[in-house]
Amino acid sequence: MTIAVVDYGVGNLFSIYNALERIGAGPKLVVEPEELTGFAGIVVPGVGSFGRCMRRLSRFEEPLRRALDGGTPVLGICVGMQVLFDGSEESPEEGLGWIRGDVVRLPDSVLVPQMGWNNLSIRREVEILEGISDEDFFYFVHSYHCVPRDGQVVAATAEYGTEIAAAISTDNLFAVQFHPEKSGAKGLSILENFVRLSRC
């Protein structure tokens, strides 16, 4: 029972692989859609533009949906979170639409991208954020943020020019706007929570 990291040809997966390995998750990079089956949990990373990610991820849509419907925990990270939404101001491509809502640009009042460590405001007690408090900081790098239609899915927010959805938890679908693999010990805790949920 291992954790799959969807390797769909965007960016550098070394860090997330390395972090999962460190916490004993036995990660595997999955390059082919037909191989995305039988995993305890699936991580969808993502860097770069929404459109580029979506174009490259689309061939994984079916096996991802099947895994999600079958109860497999799925964790989207950064743009891997954004692609779960209907669409983004950044690109014309449609998102996966598994969480209703849109991805919009950060306000002009702040430096864009947000790059650095920001703390969370925990909105709901959820398993994926077990052990995490409002005082803990996480590493964010993004120019757009997710606005879910149903605010109930938001588990934590962060303040950056506006209130942004930092973490989402709904059934077996999880997403974080920050990079847990680059957020020190607290980031690793979130990945550990995900792995634990994957093995239940």
Binding site: G48, P113, G116, N119, E159
Partner: protein
């Protein structure tokens, strides 16, 4: 609230198998500080927000040593890792990313061929492309230079390359703005006049650049104690402060610096 970042910088001499961390004074005299991955891991555990490795040897035959340093560090360090020194092409950057770096810093190569910034940003995202600028104060302002009020009156800043050994003639402040336009995600701004002096950051320089770009500026050069970091955060828009000697030689730990800042109202990650 977005925290200001504290970034220990490890200048690496890769002429020995594991590499060694060194620190020069005003880009010249050299002192040894330790083994790169050991120091990086210690700083990570003390609360460093990011780690920067600069290969000061920067010759291609030592590249494999740098890869080993990055690999050894990335296993234990779960904050962003930026690597620079001798990156001349996207191909060079790829090797560094593959070894486990999250960002590359480019300096000489970008001054010689600015398109490298766009090329790296296109492939790995702007967040992964840091443009390092080594700036030297010049006290002979001219009309085509961006002039800044300094203790010396009015000055401009010249960008240096080849590790401070040569001067490009390029206006460092204008170059920072151009780098942003080309897709740089951050500016690592080093004052050559202050580097290794422990006299504090160059406030006019840091202020001038951070006011003119809309990407994070990392202030570097001259940090001798925690108050210098406090000063650069209070007086400029720098998003991060980079320091070497104060951490290497025991002036203060990363944790002590952060407590000092937090007690004085600066948002830091503790």
């Amino acid at each position: 609230m977005l925290a200001r970042r504290i970034i220990p910088c490890l200048d690496c001499d890769l002429a020995v198998p594991q590499g060694r961390v060194v620190k020069g004074i005003e880009f010249k005299k050299i002192r040894y500080a330790g083994v790169p991955w050991e120091l990086a891991t210690r700083y990570y555990e003390e609360g460093a927000d990011e780690i920067v490795f600069l290969d000061i040897t920067a010759s291609s035959d030592r590249r494999e040593t740098m890869f080993n340093v990055i690999r050894a560090t990335a296993r234990d360090v779960f904050v962003p890792l930026a690597v620079g020194g001798g990156i001349r092409s996207v191909e060079d950057a790829r090797g560094v990313f593959k070894a486990g770096a999250d960002k590359v810093t480019v300096n000489t190569a970008a001054l010689k061929r600015p398109e490298i910034i766009s090329e790296i940003a296109e492939e790995y995202g702007s967040q992964a492309c840091v443009v390092a600028i080594d700036a030297k104060r010049r006290d002979d302002p001219a009309e085509d230079r961006i002039t800044v009020p300094t203790q010396q009156g009015a000055s401009w800043f010249e960008a240096s390359f080849y590790g401070g050994r040569e001067f490009s003639g390029v206006d460092a402040i204008a170059w920072a703005m151009k780098a942003e336009a080309l897709g740089a995600g951050e500016i690592l701004l080093t004052s050559m006049d202050r580097d290794g002096t422990y006299d504090g950051f160059d406030i006019p320089l840091t202020d001038a650049v951070s006011k003119r770009v809309r990407i994070p500026v990392i202030a570097s050069g001259g940090c001798g104690n925690a108050d210098h970091i406090l000063e650069v955060f209070q007086k400029t828009g720098a998003s991060a402060a980079l320091a070497a000697s104060i951490f290497h030689y025991g002036e203060a730990s990363v944790g002590e610096v952060k407590s000092h800042l937090a007690e004085r109202g600066i948002a830091v990650r503790i």
